[in-house]
């Protein structure tokens, strides 16, 4: 298996997409939803909610990065098949 094998590249892309989907459905989002005003209120909970918001942004960024990685691998596999690759 090499980096130029279209099957391998597409398999890696699939893996990244699965991972992206898994992270997108992470418990982290549930934690954020459950840690809001309906559960607790006060300066300490607000600090927790701020933390959750930051974590959610990091999670979104991670998911986007994984999707971009998958698209890159797919494009590379297509280039190999069409002979446009390096």
């Amino acid at each position: 298996v090499t980096d130029d094998d279209p099957c391998t590249l597409r398999a890696r892309a699939d893996g990244l997409r699965r991972l992206a989907a898994a992270l997108d459905a992470s418990c982290l989002r549930d934690v954020r939803a459950r840690g809001g005003d309906a559960t607790w209120r006060g300066p300490t909970p607000e600090a927790f909610q701020d933390e959750c918001a930051l974590a959610a942004r990091q999670l979104d960024a991670a998911v986007d990065e994984l999707w971009q990685g998958a698209r890159l691998l797919d494009r590379r596999a297509d280039d190999v098949v069409t002979g446009n690759g390096p």
Binding site: S26, G42, P43, V63, G69
Partner: protein
């Protein structure tokens, strides 16, 4: 200190999800190098959130010593406070929370759970602590969220609980603390709120509530004057029908006493109240000694205390209060009358001359200030106060002598002092006549009482009681400067005349000493007026001595000063200088 409210079940659910997140993170991995950065971000985020499990555990276990110091979380059950739709909430004050108490949230708490909080002394005390912890910014947020109308309603409600609790001898200290801290919060918030709607709402407070608010809030002068003035007016109009306007049995002050106490802390506000009130209200308020006790007199005296009040400010009060009280003299009791003397004493030139005092114009309207001074002095205490004020006047106004038309200013000073001394003397005469009237009433109409006392069947007892009464009356007349009884009024008046002659000599001595202070003379020392034997001719004898002193090398200007002052004194004392003149 912050607050913390939570739903225990929901928080336990959050705790479980944090466990699940930690487990999820532990099993989430990838060998693909393209996933490395993304996974690193995810793991970092998940680890930070999972790190909160300890703090959540602290809350769930109500741990006092935990990293999140939660104070007795389960003692204040505020189920529907922070999230009214959800039952079972717990709330506590979180000492370690950053950011302090949130004003808006505390307002929400107060609005929803106020009555319940006040029923429990522990909760009430905690609420008071939370209110006290508000910094000015949070206090402003609290006040804005509460709003003026609702704040006024809450203040009245907690005040009624305080008043009733006190009256029933219930321990209402905690509720009273809520009232005071609520008031202080409003005071701290004041610079940040729109004043007009707040003033409108607070002006409608029950007088007792207004009194407690004014005493605790530290409102700025104008606001204090508005709220306290409205409270006093409301008490005058509706006092007898107000539950909280009634006396209680546990030492709580009456509403007007509370309000006057608050105004005593800010005399400028007190002067604004007095200036804005109609005459009839002033007399009804200050004359109500049944309720005010001894509060009104000191209050008035402090409003015009020369250490705190400028001549203009003192005139603003005295020109309003004295005519108003004179018009309702029946309302002025002996104690208040004495305090009127103390209030007027530092400003005798304003009454005796009635014009400009220290650069400020005193407008008496249709009132005759000299007649008012005569009336003020009609109590032994007030007459003494006026005499003392007269003695101090020369020294107090001596700077005017140095810069003005010397002879004219000294003449005016003489008029003021002479008028005041006559008023003081007349006051003592009036008091002595009252005492004489009592004597004559006792000795003439029921004179047979003494006969009954010595011949009746219970002679010893009655005789003893009568003797005690006679001794009491003797004491009265002695205090009025009259020995023996009954005393002929003309003797009293002769004493007053002698008092005037002595006073004139006393003031001449002051003039001589002030004149010569700091300017030693080369000639012989001036005659000491106070070394003269007292008597009605003392003034003439002293004038002769002054002439001899001048002839022997003494200063003619000093003699001229004494004469200018003496002329004024004589005219003032004889009532000949009734045309107001002024001392700038």
């Amino acid at each position: 200190m912050g607050y913390l409210g939570y739903d225990p079940d929901a928080l336990a659910g959050l705790r479980a999800r944090l466990d699940a997140l930690a487990a999820e993170a532990a099993r989430t991995s990838s060998d693909d190098p393209f996933a490395a950065d993304a996974l690193a971000r995810y793991h970092a985020a998940a680890a930070r959130l999972a790190g909160w499990r300890g703090r959540v555990d602290g809350v769930l276990s109500c741990g006092v010593d935990g990293p999140l110091t939660v104070v007795d979380l389960d003692e204040i059950a505020l189920a529907d406070v922070l999230h009214p739709a959800v039952a079972g909430w717990t709330l506590g004050f979180d000492r370690d929370a950053a950011g302090g108490v949130h004003g808006e949230r505390l307002a929400e708490l107060v609005l929803v759970r106020f009555d319940a909080l006040l029923k429990d002394p522990v909760s009430a005390r905690r609420l008071a602590n939370a209110l006290d912890a508000l910094d000015p910014l949070a206090a402003t947020a609290f006040a804005v969220a509460l709003g003026p109308t609702r704040a006024a309603t809450l203040l009245d409600r907690v005040a009624s609980l305080t008043a009733l609790g006190t009256a029933r001898r219930h321990p209402s200290t905690a509720v009273g603390a809520v009232l005071d801290t609520l008031a202080r919060s409003i005071g701290r918030a004041w610079p940040g709120v729109e004043a007009a709607p707040w003033l409108a709402a607070l002006a409608g407070l029950d007088p007792f509530t207004a009194g407690r608010l004014c005493r605790a809030a530290g409102l700025p002068t104008a606001a204090l004057a508005t709220v306290a003035g409205a409270g006093l007016a409301r008490w005058l109009d509706h006092g007898s029908t107000l539950v909280m306007g009634q006396p209680d049995q546990a030492g709580e002050l009456h509403p007007p006493q509370l309000l006057l106490d608050a105004l005593r802390g800010d005399p400028a506000a007190g002067r604004q109240v007095v200036a804005a009130w109609p005459d009839a209200s002033l007399a009804r308020l200050f004359g109500n000694t049944t309720v005010l006790g001894t509060t009104a007199g000191p209050f008035l005296a402090e409003l015009v205390d020369p250490r705190q009040a400028s001549p203009a400010e003192a005139g603003q009060v005295l020109t309003r209060v004295l005519p108003a009280l004179r018009a309702d003299a029946d309302l002025v009791d002996k104690d208040l009358h004495g305090w009127l003397g103390a209030a007027a004493a530092p400003w005798l030139d304003g009454l005796a001359l009635g014009g400009v005092v220290g650069g400020a114009t005193w407008s008496w309207g249709e009132a005759d200030p000299v007649a008012l001074l005569d009336w003020v002095a009609r109590s032994s205490v007030a007459a003494d106060a006026v005499a003392v004020g007269a003695a101090a006047l020369v020294g107090a106004r001596w700077s005017a002598v140095r810069v003005g038309d010397r002879a004219a200013v000294l003449y005016d000073l003489g008029v003021a002092v002479g008028t005041a001394q006559r008023a003081a003397g007349d006051g003592h005469v009036w008091v002595a006549r009252q005492a004489d009237a009592v004597w004559h009433q006792l000795w003439s109409a029921p004179g047979t009482v003494l006969g009954v006392a010595v011949t009746g069947p219970v002679g010893a007892v009655v005789g003893f009681a009568t003797g005690a009464g006679v001794a009491r009356l003797a004491g009265l007349t002695e205090r009025a400067g009259v020995l023996g009884a009954p005393t002929p009024p003309d003797r009293v008046e002769r004493l007053a005349q002698r008092h005037a002659a002595d006073a004139k000599i006393d003031h001449a001595a002051r003039i001589v000493r002030l004149d010569l202070a700091g300017s030693p003379t080369a000639g012989p020392p001036p005659p000491d007026p106070l070394a003269l034997a007292p008597g009605p001719d003392a003034v003439a004898r002293y004038t002769d001595e002054l002439d001899r002193w001048v002839a022997a090398g003494g200063r003619t200007d000093v003699r001229a000063d004494v004469h200018a002052f003496g002329d004024g004194f004589g005219d003032g004392f004889d009532g000949l200088a009734h045309t107001p003149r002024s001392i700038d």
